[in-house]
Amino acid sequence: MEEVELNKEFITSQLTSSFGHYIINSEETYGMITITVDRSKILEIMNYLYLDPKLSFTFLTDLTGVHFPEPKDELGVVYHLHNLPANIRLRIKTFFPKSDSVIDSLTSLFSSANFMERETYDFFGIIFKGHPNLKRILNVDDLDYFPLRKEYALEDSTRTDKDDTMFGRG
């Protein structure tokens, strides 16, 4: 196998040739290749990145959610992958509307995705389809909202001992 440089062009062309219009955007910001993909193919894309011998992104560094209330009220999941031997990092992003926040789970591919997906569910309410044990991980089970969504306040809303005029909340 001849040596190829794992750069943005190469990874993007590999992905586009197999997934076509499911690859929405690719860019390089602050030295990190970032590819935005459609969520419906996320598991296949991850599988491909994992198994393709030229790419072999076999290490899931990080998985987290993000909420953009503007302009379309979207939730997103951001994956950071790492090809350890070649020392190349790759960021995969995918966005979907808040009203329909379901995405495939990566637990079949990475054991490390288990807790991280549970955390993302706990914080953002993103449902990971196929996760073996999707329940709250950090917060109490009977919390009835997803605290990291932007519309919720940071503070405990049940507090009565703080004077709002003094603390400037409101």
Partner: protein, 178 residues
């Protein structure tokens, strides 16, 4: 070096020493507190330093940390108590037998500290009565030791009947503890 505790006030004569029972019991209790370290986070690491060789908490009669609430006199809550942890603290407190004292070490245990957030209990005095608060984030070992000495003062002066008094019962029932 051996230190002998000072005798309380009393009447002394050849071969006898008379004082009130309260004072003797207080003296004995003061120097044999068994703390239960309930260390959850950063303050717990400072407590570790307090326990270790340089500061040596054992000098104050707290040689044996009691990890069983049944045999502990003093609950030392060190670190953030999240809402998930609240019921656990409460249960540990309920399992302790009277007389029991509580010390809240650090800003988090006292008031929630810098974490005015949806998940953190804003001070353990929301769920159990506290005797001594130690400020600091984290408090230095000297401060923790000072807090323990304030507890010792309280222990020494405590009348033997205090825990049967109606005020004390009212305090506990205001927390809903039987």
């Amino acid at each position: 070096m051996v230190n002998t505790a000072e005798a309380p006030e009393g009447v002394e004569g050849p071969g006898f020493f008379a004082t009130s029972l309260d004072k003797v019991v207080g003296l004995a209790r003061k120097h044999s507190i068994w703390p239960l370290p309930f260390a959850t986070s950063c303050c717990g690491i400072e407590f570790m330093a307090t326990m270790a060789s340089t500061y040596d908490l054992a000098r104050f009669g707290a040689e044996r940390p009691s990890f069983s609430p049944r045999q502990a006199d003093l609950l030392m809550v060190m670190g953030t108590i999240a809402k998930k942890m609240g019921p656990v603290v409460r249960q540990v407190y309920e399992q302790m037998s009277e007389p029991r004292w509580v010390i809240a070490v650090g800003a988090c245990a006292s008031s929630g500290g810098i974490f005015d957030t949806y998940s953190v209990l804003q001070g353990i005095d929301k769920i159990i009565p506290v005797d001594v608060y130690v400020p600091g984030c984290p408090p230095r070992p000297e401060q923790i030791i000072d807090g323990l000495m304030r507890i010792q003062d309280l222990v020494e002066k405590e009348p033997t009947r205090r825990r049967d008094s109606s005020e004390y019962k009212a305090l506990l029932s205001s927390y809903g503890i039987k």
